[in-house]
Structures are given as structure tokens and as C-alpha cells.
């Protein structure tokens, strides 16, 4: 089942609210006016009844009443909507100014009665105060016109309720439609986004306050998508480019070798040349698969307690011969412990050391600092890196030197990307800084 649209829902809600409010107001008003009429009637009846009582003062029998009738009738003739009934103490009707008067429900007090299509308000009282065996006076006031007025008013109230609900529903629908225009615009923009137009943005500044935040969030999402997409596109292009050079070398080399018969030594040499290219390509593919795994969240580090000092010392020992050749000092300072995947962290740090060794000039220094808490800083002396390039160091295939030297031993530029993936898989962060002649790679791991 299709759910009701937001606009219809709001319109109905508005209508219900207006209906409830106007109904409440109407009922209150109707109650108040009815109350007001009752008070008016009571005032009038009280006055008349005391007048009648004084006219009939001293009457104890029907015969005595007949004597007073002319004055009574005269008084009654002044007001046509008033009727009087007098009953003896035994309940027998001594006099009634009008036929078909209803029975009063109580011997004393005010009541509202209905008889033969006429509404009455009645007030009864004994002729002699406080005496049970006294003749009983009941005054009837014809209040049909009041009732008509009240009924008319109730109709008016219902009409108002209905009409105002309808009007608010329509106006509300219109207002909601207008109010939700930015949402529809958002929808339109979202619908127009394709892989080729990820640069589209919502005009967040023009949006109403409530939607500005949402628009901002959507824009940020589009930005992230755009970035990721750009990276992915660049990545695919880079892969093709990276593989193109060795592939073209292999093709050319193999074809040239086969163009004419050669000596055994030449064939051997050709195969060795090919082997180097192939190994380079295999390494590239393996690294890329590793990164692809990381991208898909499949890099699941094991968690074992690690003494990082031991790990770093092992790595420094591994790199010691290379560093000695390059006349670079390797140092480790500080202690730290963490839980992580030993092989993966070794690989991450090894890439950093490898990178540091590549860029540290002779007589330089590479220092690995461990800070509990937890930071691992791999710092090396060397030429400064431009600040805008620091972040890009971790991008795939990024090389400080754009023209890769021909030759298979050259690394593919995936090392730092792999390091970052490993650090991220451990829930950490890595950044590069450059100051005072030191380049620092700072890994922050959750303690």
C-alpha cells in the first residue's frame, strides 16, 4: 500500500487541528450562551413568581383563589410567554392559565421541560414558604425562541468547523507544497547525479534552515563520492599506465629477440630481462590486490599483544646493512605496546623505513620514536617536501618524482598507500609532516 504523501498528511493534520479548535470554541460559546439564557430566565421567573406569590398571599382554598383570579389574569396578560399553574396542597390543579402544561419534575426550583413542541423553563415554589401543606405555584416561561437561537448557533458552529477544516486543509496543502519546494529541488538534483556529474551541488545557502543541514550533508556526500570516484578513475588509469610500460618492454624485447637466431647467451639474457619485468608486474599486481582487499574491508588484522620496541628493533636490524651502505644512522627511542597484527604492522613500518632510506641523504639519520598512548613516528633527515604534497604521499602510484625511471627495480609507489591501509585497518591514522629539515610520518593508533 502506498503511504500518504507528506503534503496530504500535513494538510489533514492542519484540518483536524482547526476542526478541533473551532469545535472547542463553538461548544464553549454555545454552553456559555445557554448558561446565560438560563440565568436570564431564572431572574425573570424569580421576579414574576414573587409578584404572583404576593398577589396570592393568604390564599388557602380554591374558592379563595377564584376571588383573586382577575388580578392574577390581569398580571399574566402583560406577558404572553408566561403561564401559571396553581395546585392545592393535595396536588389537585386549582388553576392553569394555559392548557397542556407539562408536569413540573420537582416541587421547587428551576427546570427545563418540553411539551407538545414547546420548550418551557419552569420555576416552582410553595405559596407559603417552608410549609409542606401549602398550595404550589409553578410559573412556565416559553423559551422556544431561545432554543431556536441555540440550535441555529449549533448549526453555525458545525458549519464553521466543517468550512474552516476544509479551508485549512486546502491552504495547508498549498503552504506545504510551497514549503517543500526545496525538498523537491533536492530530489531533482539527486536524480540528475550520475557518475559523470558528481560535481553537482545543492544550493545550501538558499535553503531554509531546517534543510540547509541536510543539503550540507548531501553535498558532503557528493563530495566524498566525487573524490572516491576521481581516485578510482585515476587508479584504473594508473594501473593501465603502470602495466603498459613493462608490457610494452616485454613485447618489444621478445619480438626483437625472435626476429633472428641468436646465441644461447643472448636468449638467456633476453629471458632474464623479461623475468625482471614480470617480477615487477607480479609485485605490482600483488600490491594492488592487497590494496583492493583493504578497500573492501577484507584486511582483517589479528590482535596479538606486541612489544613495538622489539618489532622496530627487528626491522632496524633488517635494514641495518642497507642503511650502513647508504651511510644513514638508524635509531629507535621510546617504548610502546599495542595489540595488532605483527606481520601487517611490520610491513607498514617496513614501507616507511624503505621510503625514509630512499630519501635520506648520506650522513643522515632515521629515527623511530615510540610514544605510549599511542604514536609511532618515523622521522628522517632530508630535503623538505612541499606542504601540499604531504597528503598526496599516501596516494597510490604517487611519486615525488613524476617521471619514473625506466628499470624494474624501481618501486611502484604503492608502499605508503599500503602502509596507510594497514594503519587504517588497525583503526589508526597516519600523516606526514615536514619541518626543521626532518620529514616525519606519524602513526596514531588507538591505545
Amino acid at each position: 500500500m502506498r503511504r500518504l504523501s507528506l503534503g496530504s498528511r500535513l494538510a489533514l493534520l492542519f484540518a483536524a487541528c482547526t476542526a478541533a479548535v473551532s469545535l472547542g470554541a463553538g461548544l464553549l460559546f454555545s454552553r456559555a450562551s445557554e448558561q446565560h439564557f438560563v440565568e436570564l430566565d431564572q431572574q425573570l421567573l424569580n421576579g414574576r413568581l414573587s409578584l404572583m406569590s404576593s398577589l396570592l398571599a393568604g390564599v388557602a382554598t380554591q374558592e379563595q383563589l377564584v376571588m383573586r383570579l382577575p388580578a392574577l389574569l390581569n398580571e399574566l396578560s402583560h406577558q404572553s410567554d408566561l403561564a401559571l399553574r396553581v395546585r392545592g396542597a393535595d396536588g389537585a390543579t386549582w388553576f392553569a392559565s394555559r392548557g397542556e402544561l407539562p408536569q413540573a419534575p420537582a416541587p421547587t426550583g428551576l427546570a427545563t421541560l418540553h411539551s407538545n413542541g414547546v420548550d418551557y423553563r419552569s420555576l416552582s415554589a410553595p405559596l407559603i414558604d417552608g410549609q409542606r401543606a401549602s398550595p404550589q405555584l409553578t410559573l412556565f416561561l416559553d423559551i422556544t425562541h431561545h432554543q431556536h437561537f441555540l440550535q441555529g448557533m449549533q448549526r453555525l458552529i458545525w458549519l464553521t468547523v466543517g468550512l474552516s477544516a476544509l479551508a485549512t486543509a486546502l491552504l495547508g496543502a498549498w503552504a506545504v507544497r510551497r514549503g517543500l519546494k526545496p525538498l523537491r529541488q533536492m530530489g531533482k538534483v539527486a536524480a540528475s547525479v550520475t557518475a559523470g556529474s558528481l560535481t553537482t551541488r545543492l544550493p545550501a545557502a538558499e535553503m531554509p534552515e531546517e534543510l540547509a543541514e541536510l543539503a550540507g550533508t548531501v553535498n558532503a556526500m557528493l563530495q566524498r563520492l566525487d573524490d572516491a570516484f576521481q581516485r578510482l578513475s585515476a587508479f584504473s588509469a594508473d594501473i593501465a599506465h603502470e602495466l603498459r610500460t613493462p608490457l610494452s618492454n616485454l613485447l618489444t624485447h621478445t619480438q626483437v629477440t625472435l626476429t633472428r637466431p641468436r646465441s644461447l647467451e643472448e636468449y638467456r639474457e633476453a629471458l632474464h630481462g623479461n623475468l625482471e619485468e614480470l617480477q615487477w608486474m607480479a609485485q605490482l599486481v600483488n600490491d594492488m590486490l592487497y590494496l583492493a582487499k583493504a578497500d573492501h574491508g577484507l584486511l582483517m588484522p589479528s590482535r596479538q599483544a606486541l612489544d613495538l620496541a622489539t618489532e622496530v628493533d627487528a626491522l632496524l636490524e633488517y635494514y641495518a646493512p642497507l642503511a650502513e651502505d647508504a651511510q644513514v644512522r638508524l635509531l629507535r627511542e621510546g617504548q610502546a605496546h599495542t595489540e595488532g597484527d605483527r606481520h601487517m604492522l611490520r610491513r607498514a613500518l617496513s614501507n616507511l623505513l624503505d621510503n625514509a632510506l630512499r630519501f635520506t641523504p648520506a650522513d643522515g639519520e632515521i629515527r623511530v620514536s615510540l610514544e605510549p598512548g599511542l604514536r609511532i613516528v618515523v622521522a628522517n633527515t632530508g630535503p623538505a617536501i612541499a606542504p601540499q604534497l604531504l597528503e598526496r604521499l599516501f596516494d597510490r602510484f604517487y611519486r615525488a618524482d613524476p617521471a619514473r625511471q625506466e628499470g624494474s627495480s624501481e618501486h611502484a609507489g604503492l608502499g605508503l598507500a599500503i602502509t596507510r591501509s594497514i594503519v587504517q585497518a588497525h583503526g589508526g591514522k597516519i600523516r606526514a609532516e615536514c619541518e626543521d629539515g626532518w620529514t616525519r610520518f606519524v602513526i596514531e593508533l588507538p591505545a
Binding site: Q279, V285, Y318, L322
Partner: protein, 226 residues
């Protein structure tokens, strides 16, 4: 030593078969899972090299059948898939090793030799030797032609590895893993430098060179008579 290779990719199977034969192993090649399992269950192989994805039954099923038949032939898996759960699955089923394509043949050869050696009783050598090179494992001393050679701990470990597996070409990755416990492919030339330094101490002052570079494959310790 007879090896069974179950690999559906004709070229891969053929190259593996050729390479292993030339390395001195008798090989048998099956190109689908059913034939592979039939041959594997005959029980006359010293090592099974199984591809995971195969027509018929897959490598895991073959491994299961082999283990159920009570055979403890070592099994080396080759696969193009490198999902962690695959690796765990294979090892749980009783695989002995696991190589992800693309791999270097020298790496495969080294692993095959390791697996075959695993069956034999671990040698309790106290002394390793080749030609006039001697390594005293108990006193941690190396000497060549009676001359004492000073080695660092890692150089000693490297020489011990080369001596234990003399005649075998050891790829750099295997050396890094065995001597330094660095279990990842790294494109540094650390191993080259380490080997060069070891050569300086072992070979340079002697006419007969023992450490040889096999281009593109790795290093081998052997006495060559040219």
C-alpha cells in the same frame, strides 16, 4: 619423489610440471578435479599441488577426500583467490601450505622442498659444512679453510639457512621470511646487500666461490666445478 599436480589451466600445469621435473621430481599432471582425486587417492605421491578452482570437484573437496581416506600426504594449494577465509578454510581442512597466484616458481620450489623435508626427521646437526666451509652450530662459529670468520647473528642465521639448503635456489622472499621473519614481499634490496656482505666474509678471499646468484630467482650455496 613423486608429485601430483592438479591444475586445469593447461599452460600453468605444463610449466609447473616441466619446472618440477627439471628440479628432479617425478610429476603427474591432472587437469580436472575428478581425475585429480582419483590419482590422489592412489596414495603413491609424496606431495599434492592442488589448484582450488577446478572443473569437477574443487581442490578443497579433493583434500577432504584424501584426508578421509587416511592419507597424510602434504598438500600445497595454489590459488588466484586471496581471501583470508579461503586461506583459513584450506588450512582448517588440513592443507600444509598455500601460495597465491601470481607467485615465483623459485618460491614454489622452495616451499615444495620444505614440505617434503618436513616428513623426514628434523636433522639434529651440530655442524654444517660445504667444501672447506664449516659452521659449528653449538659454538656459533664459522670457519673457512681453517680460518675463523666473524659473523653477526643474522649473518650466521643466513649462512646456516644457505648451508642447510645447499644446492637449492632460495628466493629473496624466503630468505627474508626465514632469517628476519619478514613475511611480505618487499621491493627493497636488503637481501642483496646482506648477501653481498656475507660474500665479502665467506668468498672474497677464496678462489672457489660458494655463494651464487641465480639471476631473477635467488641465491644458492653450492660448490661449482667449472
Amino acid at each position: 619423489m613423486k608429485l601430483l599436480i592438479v591444475e586445469d589451466q593447461a599452460k600453468t600445469g605444463q610449466y609447473l610440471s616441466q619446472g618440477l621435473s627439471e628440479a628432479g621430481f617425478a610429476t603427474e599432471l591432472a587437469s580436472d578435479g575428478d581425475t585429480g582425486q582419483h590419482l590422489a587417492l592412489s596414495g603413491d605421491h609424496d606431495l599434492l599441488i592442488l589448484d582450488v578452482m577446478l572443473p569437477g570437484r574443487n581442490g578443497w573437496q579433493i583434500l577432504q577426500a584424501v584426508r578421509q581416506a587416511g592419507l597424510d600426504t602434504p598438500v600445497l594449494f595454489l590459488t588466484a583467490r586471496d581471501a583470508v577465509e579461503d586461506r583459513v578454510h584450506g588450512l582448517e581442512l588440513g592443507a600444509d601450505d598455500y601460495l597465491v597466484k601470481p607467485f615465483a616458481f623459485s618460491e614454489l620450489l622452495a616451499r615444495v622442498r620444505s614440505l617434503l623435508r618436513r616428513g623426514a626427521s628434523a636433522s639434529q646437526d651440530t655442524c654444517l659444512a660445504l667444501a672447506d666451509l664449516r659452521l659449528d652450530l653449538i659454538r656459533r662459529r664459522a670457519e673457512r679453510a681453517g680460518q675463523r670468520i666473524d659473523l653477526t647473528a643474522k649473518e650466521f642465521a643466513l649462512l646456516e639457512l644457505l648451508l642447510r639448503r645447499q644446492g637449492e635456489v632460495l628466493p629473496k622472499s624466503l630468505i627474508a621470511s626465514q632469517v628476519w621473519d619478514m613475511n611480505f614481499d618487499s621491493d627493497t634490496n636488503v637481501i642483496e646487500v646482506a648477501i653481498r656482505r656475507l660474500r665479502l666474509k665467506i668468498d672474497d678471499s677464496h678462489a672457489t666461490k660458494l655463494i651464487h646468484t641465480v639471476r631473477g630467482m635467488g641465491y644458492v650455496l653450492e660448490e661449482r666445478h667449472d
